[in-house]
Structures are given as C-alpha cells and as structure tokens.
Symmetry: C2
Subunit: 578 residues, 2 copies
C-alpha cells in the first residue's frame, strides 16, 4: 500500500486523499513538513489566519521496528516566531499514521463559524469532522478520557487544551504516549494554530492498519541491530539518559557555569543539588515511580520517567532537564516536587514547559512574581492562564511579548522564542545555534552542548569563539536530517562517536524504501531543509538582525566565568555559508 | 552665536557642548534626528536599553518669524516599530531650543539606579540633572504646574506621565504649548524611551535667549510674506482647517467610503454626523470654546481649538480628526463630549491618542470591551492604564501587541503601529504610504489623502491602483524635507497647489542661513532622509515583508465600495526605486 497525502480543508469541512507528488516521495518528518509549508504557505500570511497550514508528517522510519523511530513532525508558520516551525514529538501518532499510510496530514483554511470546535477523525481514506461542544474547555487528560470512552480501541490522539483554544503562544499540540501520558509538539505555539482552525483534537484510528512495507526486510533487520547496539553502547544514550533522564544535565551544566540562573544573571546556582537528576532518581526509587520509560514504542533509551510525590501519587512524566532548570535555577523553585507538580499541570494544560517557565523567570523582573515563589506561580498557571484572565493572557503570550508589555530589556529570546537551559555566553556553540536556528532559540536544533560540554564528537572549548560556527552548522545540518527520519534527537550521541551508527541509519532507510542513499545524500538533505526554512523566514520578514542573541548578553558579564557574548554579526552570519 | 550640540549622558549624568559637525550643519528637524540616530545608534540595540539615544532637533526655520515653523523633531529607535522613529510636535520647545542655539539635544545611556527619575534642565551651555521624586507618578498637567511653580519665567517643558515612566508603547513625550496645554511627540513610544532613560521631564530655560540669526533679513521678510499669503489663500489651510479643524475630515471620509468603522469592517458610519467637524464647531461656538487656536507661536492656520463641555468647562484642545475617528466610528462612541473628555485624559496621561484609540477598537474583537462602551473605556484609560494593572499594561502595549496577546487576525497595524483614520482599501495611495513608510502606519508621512480625496495637487482615483505608488513616493519625499524645516505638515496643501509656496519656503531657508539651496536640493534632502531611515530599518531587522498591510485587507471586502487591498508585494516594493 502506497502512502498518501490526507488534505483537510477547514473552511468547507472537506478532505481529499492525494497521491504523494514525486518530489515529496523521499521526504518525511521535518523535511516534509518544512517543504510543504515552504511550497504552500504564503510566508507573509498571518499565522492564525486562514492561509496558514498545519502539517503533520511521521518520519521516514516511523512505523517500522527501528529503535527510536517514533517521532512525528508538525509544521506551520509559527505565531511565536513569525517564521517556519517544525516540532517533533514522541507518542503514538507517528507510528499509527505511518501504519495507516498517511505520508502527511495537511490542514488548511478556517471555519467561518468561530463558535464550533471539531474533532478530526482520520481513518483509512477518510476524515470525519465531528462537532465536539462537550470537549470545549477541557484540558488534555479529560480529552484523552473522553476519547478513550468513545472508542473501544487504540487511537492516536493529538489535542489542545484551553490555552490552545484561546490561541495563546504557549499552546502545544499534545499527543498521547504509549503509557497514556502526554508528549508535546512544543515550542512555537502550534497549539494556537490548531486552535485557530477550530480543531480541538485529531484522532487517528489504528484498527485496520498494517505494518509498514519494508522493501528489503533482511537488510533492514541487520542494520537495525547495528543501530540499536550503537544506541545501547553509547555512554550517554545507553547509561546517563536511562539512569537520570535528561536531568542528568543539572549538575553538569552547573559545574560548567552554563546553568542560567535568576533570568540569566549567572551560570551556576547554589541549590542545584535540590533539583538535579541524582536527586530525582533517588526520589523516584524511594517513591515507586519509574526511572526509565519510553515516550514512544521502540525506544531503547528510555530517558523518560514517572515521578511520584511522597505518597506515591503520580505527579508527572517526561520530566525534562530544560523544564526543571527553568522552574529551578532560572525562576528559583528549590522544591523538586513542586516543579514536578507544575510540569504535570503544564502537560494537562498543553503548554510549552520551556516557554512557560522562562516566561515565569522574566515575570520576576516584571514584578509579577517573587523569585522562587512557586505557590503563586502555580496559581497563575492553574487559574489565570487557562481561564484567560488579563494576567493569564500576558503569561500565555510567552517571554518575548511579556518583555514588550513590561518594557523590559533583559529578555532572553531569539526570534521571539525563549532561550532554554544552556547559557549562550558560557556554551558558545549553543549560542550560535540559538542565534541562527530557523526555529528561534531551540536547543534541539543543533545541540552544541554535546561537543562543548559532553565531549561527544570531540571537544570544542565552550568559552572560546573558535570552531563554534562550524560546530553549530554541522550539528544543525545533521539534526535537520535526523528530524526527517523519525528518529529521536538522542541518536546524535552514538552518531557523533560510533562510526557504525550513521551508516546503519542510512541502511535502514535504504532497506525500507529500496533506495540507495549515501551519507552525503543525507547531509545534503539536511542542508536543503535548513535553506528551505531560512528562505521562508526571510520572505516572512526575518533577516540577519534576527539571527542575534539578546543585546544584554553583549554587555552584561556572566559569572562565574565572567564572559560576555562576543560574536560579531558578521561572524554569526557566516553560519549561512554553505 | 553658532548653534551647538548638547550631548547628555545619563549613565554618568554628564554633558558635553559640542560644535556642530560640518555634515550636520545644513540639517534640522527630521533630517537631523534621523541622521544622528542612523550614525550613532546600533540598529540592533534594544530600544529601551542603554544603547538607544533620544534626539531632539528643532527645524531649520524654527525660532524665526516664519509662519508655522515651530515644529520640533524627536528621534530614536522605536520600541513600538523596532525601526527608526521621528515624531514632530508643535508647542514651545522648538522655538526656545532654537533661540538658545541648541541645534540638537542628544540623550545617551541610562542610569544604573533604576529608582530615580530626573529633570534635565537645559540652559545656556549647561545641563543640570535634578532628582525629582516629587514628580514621579504625576501626570502631565501636574508636571506643568510643578514646573510653573518652580520657575518664575517661561521655560519649555517636555514631559512624560506614568505610562511613560512604566515604559509602555503608548507613551508620548508631551510638550507645553503657548496656551499652557499639551502637544505630543506621538506615535512609536518615544515616551517609553525617555522613561527608560529615567527622565521625567526636560525643561529649557528661555530667559537669556536671543532671536535666531538671519543672514539676509530683507530677503527673509519678503519670502515670508509670500509664504504666509500662500497658506492663507489656500482653501484647505486658509478656510477648511481654521473653520472645523482637522475634524472637517469626518464627513469627507465618510462620503468617500474611507472612514474605517468597527475596527476596519466598513468604510462609512451611520453616526458620522454625531462626531463631525461641523457638529464640533457648533458645540464650540455655543459653549464658549475656541474654534481657532495655534499649537505653536507663528501659526497662521490655527487648526487647533478649545472644546468645552455643556457647562463651558474645558474638556480638550488639539482635538484631531484621527482621534475622533478612532474613538467614534472605529470604537463606536457616538457622544462627541465623551470623546473630548477621553482626548483630554490622553493628553494628561501622555499617551498617543491614535494608538490608544485604535487599540480600544481592537479590544472589542478581543472581548475586552463592547463596541461603543465609552464609559468602560474611560475607566480602563483613567484607572487601569496609568496604574499599570495587567489589563492596563495590555492596552498600554498598543494594537499590535494586543493582537498577539489575544491571538487576533484582524489587527490593523503596519510595522507594529496602528493604522489611522483612512481606510487603505478605499484610499489606496494612503495605503501605499502606510505600507512603505519607515515610521510604520503613519498618515503624516505621506498624506496621499490630499490627492486621492481632497484633490490637492491634482487627483488620483482613490479606488484604483494606478499612480498611487508614485503619489505616495513623491509625498513621502516632500514630507521628509518639510519635516526638516520645522514647518507644520499642512504647508503641503498650498505647496501642492500654489507655485509660489515652495520657492518661498526655500528662499526663507536660504535667507536664514545665507545659502543657495534649490528646490531640487530640498527634494534630494527628502530622498536622502528616506533612504537613511530605510537602511536603518533593514539593519534593525525589518525587510520588504514588513512593507505590507495586514493580510486580512487582502481577502476581506470593504463596504460600501466592496474593495480589497490588491497591490502585490512587487508593486509595493517599487516604492523604493528612486
């Protein structure tokens, strides 16, 4: 069965099932969403207007048995950055869509009636538009429950909460994971785009699916084995991440002086111990949670976890370093349990836990919150935000807009998106990624922390300028390609250090589709994706002045290394020389 | 006495008096502020950070006896548009600064101590930095009173209210006018820049000033006579404006189908009669106000007025069409007295009456206010806004940010600045000015309404595309030059129709400085100014995608003419071919 394009028009509630155009055949995930957005969306359109499109595309290897291949990409013009956005997610949607033969789901238009929300129900060669007044105003877990009650079988669920209905920049599209918890198409306000199209949730029925077709099953199996071994033998993906999750990074970044603290006023925090991965793992063990847990079927890294409170009650899962950092060091909460409770709340609300938490950090400068006042912050998030009070709307607009509203100068954003977890002044390669990424400040788009701090793929001194632009460029190119395979970004660690890993990945793609790609082809794919995205952004109104870190990082000295951001504009712009 | 540059550094509270560099000698007003900002301000700097500069420069003819020459320019990087800004104002500051020999006042840096506000007191070769805790939290008229009590003589006063102290985008810099009322450096949030530099007010002591030097007094007198006559004999500047103020335009635009109504949903309003210039003039006559009143010494047009309530108590002055339109047709208030009361309040608060009122129009779409609910809007402006409540901050951020916060699509802004009073779909030449102006949507930067609607300088059909780009270009070039002379923009009407007007203006400049400029030189000055500003904007991060009207105007048909905005990007970009 050939894959097909499912195209939905929300203006007249119609759909078409289309053959995949030849030029899209070899694309998946980010390569496909970014290509479709670039080809079909007017870069000058309003991101929340009828001419934006929301595109979902599973990765090339999604739906297969390849380890860690269960990522689904979502793309659109972002209301947060004003540029192109791709956000990929674990959960069950990539696998189910792939097995149903959905190469991409393209959602266009906007209903004339603003008062109705729909569930899109996707089945074989069909999309139903179901009015769901009973789901309006519900948060994510309630939607999952309602859908579970409605279908007596396994369906993929992508949903938005109230914040998405209200089209706020913080809104994610949340996806049901294999454990019945939530994963997020985070960053960039894709949930607001879904809300603007009056879609409360999308369900994909898995009943009649088949396994995806593998052109050369033997070759696939062999390559898959090599690839899995590489993942398991790498010290980061095979040991560090399973043991402590991504939160292994708190102590590492703190020691490196790259843990942004008090809204990016220092690079280390005296209370790091309270919130670090080691503390988290101890709590989980003592309280009967799970230290390892996969965000999608086939994950062999299992960096997720289930974190319970002292009484053994569920607080959150997918408890990531970046969220813990933002609520901890940057906003000042010293109590990991409260951070977990807020993380769980953000899952349920369907808001980006990085953007939300970085916004809280800035809200301290605005005088809205006291540093570390987690109780008041919890109230803001649980009451004001989902009810859309004036203050809820302010927080819901994200860091950049909060800075505008309060006339603040120390606003940690690039292209309007909050800077995550790694101080660019002290981890300069990451700073180059933040400045140049087509996605706005996005750690996942070129994780130079790997080579600056973790010595993965060699070492480039994080405090020096030398080599950072090349490092960030190479990583962003590779990441764009990996984001197209359906692979989790953490395959980068073995890919950087184990010479067998990347060839095995390419072999799996070739075996799946019966093609003969080389590693160079994959690198070129990454380059093409970045250029496509960059060109879209320029047409959308961004230019090189947007490839910059916040100005205050140029003149404000960051302890403990007492460094500033010292790249010239010209040096940064050299990123695009490829 | 040669003119001098007064340069103030707020970081260390110091000042320097400098010779005027040769390249600035022939510049004044907008030409000078934009040149200084372009030369000295990093386009990538944060507008509210220490590297922005606030520049005041009187026009070339300010301080002379030339009619209508009393305009003062203020320039900076704008926190509202992110680009360069020049805003000129009547009042007493241009004359007093000129007579004191201040070619430009350049304010740099930012105090380390955020808790202190200063009065800058400018006298001959001296600037004093006076801590003014007693003025903090006061609105404009209270500041004027305090300054009047402090100095037993006439001083120029430029001040900000609470909204400026809080660095909101709506904040003006307000200037005392000859009648003791206020004129505004409006649009673009220059009051926020002044607030960011912790300057509550600037006073210029006029005690020891001399008349400005005129190189050839006889020639000046003669040219001045011709110029004044041209102003007085033009039907618009000599009759329409003195009789009804700028508010003569309500009926004219309503009949032309170009009066934006209900947040730009139609081009005419059934209640135009309630708020039109004729109604206003009747009220003024019946209540003992003033139909004519000059915003600065030497004005022969006298388009300002004093508008009283039914009991003869002062409500407002400088009661402009754009404000009346925005609160009337666009937001829905049918009671001209309430509009006047709100206009007076906005003067006192020091907020831009166009941006504020266009924001209220959008607030209806956001569900914050009901259409036409002036009482609630008054409460918002009088209580929430100056007290900086969450809702006050939202309104105080202006139209563009309000649209972001509420996820709205029908947001009438260009480059983040609210579109004034003339429907671009029905007055297409004005639409081209809005799209291309370096200032964001700004009617004064190239008033194509003149030729589209008022048949001044010929006629170009407002509903057709033909000729609009050339019209807007010529007007913007001429306006940039006029904004440099210190002349009020309304000299454009005789300049467009009376062949003696423009030569007389150039003769006055030549007589003042003993130079030999031609009309071509003046046109070239206008071109240079626009190019300087455009280049700054590009370096600041704007590009041709920012030279666009809001997308909804492309697909939403505007009654009564049932027109859309139908210019392609390419057609608009041809504006810059000069």
């Amino acid at each position: 069965m050939a894959d097909l394009i499912y195209r939905v028009n929300m203006t007249n509630l119609s759909f078409k099932i289309e053959e995949v155009p030849a030029q899209w055949l070899g694309l998946g995930g980010r390569a496909l969403t970014s290509t479709i957005v670039a080809q079909e969306v007017d870069p000058e359109c309003h991101p929340l207007g009828p001419n934006n499109k929301l595109v979902f595309a599973p990765g090339l290897l999604s739906g297969t048995s390849a380890s860690n291949s269960g990522r689904n990409s979502c793309g659109a013009k972002s209301p947060l950055t004003g540029g192109i956005k791709e956000s990929n997610v674990g959960g069950t949607s990539a696998g189910i869509m792939s097995k149903l033969g959905v190469k991409a789901l393209i959602i266009e238009g906007m209903p004339k009636n603003e008062n109705v929300f729909y569930q899109l129900h996707v089945t074989k060669n069909k999309v139903e538009f179901i009015e769901v007044p009973e789901l309006v105003g519900l948060d994510n877990y309630a939607v999952l429950d309602a859908i579970a009650a409605k279908y007596d079988k396994k369906v993929a669920v992508m949903t938005i909460g109230r914040v998405g209905e209200m089209r706020m920049n913080l809104a994610n599209i949340s996806v049901k994971d294999p454990g019945g918890k939530l994963r997020s198409h985070g960053r960039g306000g894709l949930g607001a785009v879904m809300g603007s199209k009056k879609i409360k949730c999308i369900t994909v029925d898995a009943e009649n699916y088949k396994e995806v077709t593998i052109a050369d099953p033997e070759k696939f199996k062999e390559a898959s084995k090599v690839f899995t071994k590489a993942l398991q033998e790498n010290p980061i993906s095979g040991e560090g991440l399973p043991a402590f999750g991504t939160n292994v990074l708190v102590n590492i970044l703190n020691e490196a002086g790259g843990l942004p603290t008090r809204n990016f006023r220092a690079g280390n925090w005296e209370f790091a111990e309270n919130i670090c991965g080691e503390t988290m793992a101890e709590n989980i063990k003592a309280r009967g949670g799970k230290t390892t847990h996969g965000c999608h079927a086939g994950c062999v890294i299992q960096c997720s976890q289930v974190y319970n409170d002292k009484d053994g009650n569920y607080l959150t899962s997918g408890f990531e370093y970046e969220t813990i950092w933002a609520l901890g060091a940057n906003f000042g909460i010293k109590d990991l349990d409260l951070i977990a409770k807020m993380d769980g709340l953000m899952d349920d609300l369907g808001v980006d836990s990085i953007e939300t938490s970085v916004t809280l950090g800035l809200a301290v400068d605005a005088g809205i919150l006291a540093y570390g006042d987690g109780e008041k912050a919890y109230e803001l998030l649980s009451k004001d935000l989902p009810n859309g009070t004036a203050m809820g709307r302010i927080i819901g607009s994200g860091t950049h807009i909060l800075g505008k509203i309060y006339g603040l100068v120390r606003v940690p954003t690039v292209k309007g998106q909050g800077i995550p977890a790694y101080e660019p002044r002290a981890v300069k390669g990451q700073g180059i990624t933040y400045a140049t990424s087509t996605m706005g400040a996005d750690h996942t788009s070129g994780y130079a922390v790997a080579t600056n701090i973790l010595n993965s793929g060699g070492h480039v001194d994080p405090l020096k300028k030398e080599g950072q632009v090349d490092l960030a460029r190479n990583l962003q190119i590779a990441t764009a390609a990996v984001d197209s395979t359906g692979m989790c970004i953490f395959v980068a660690f073995p890919a950087l250090d184990d010479p067998k890993c990347l060839p095995a990945l390419v072999d799996m793609i070739n075996a799946r589709f019966g093609c003969t790609l080389t590693i160079d082809d994959v690198v070129n794919l990454g380059k093409t994706i970045l250029k496509t995205e960059h060109e879209f952004n320029i047409k959308a109104g961004l230019n090189s002045a947007d490839d910059r870190l916040p100005e205050f990082m140029k003149y404000e000295v960051l302890p403990p290394h007492n460094v500033v951001w010292d790249f010239t504009g010209e040096e940064i712009d050299a990123f695009w020389n490829f």
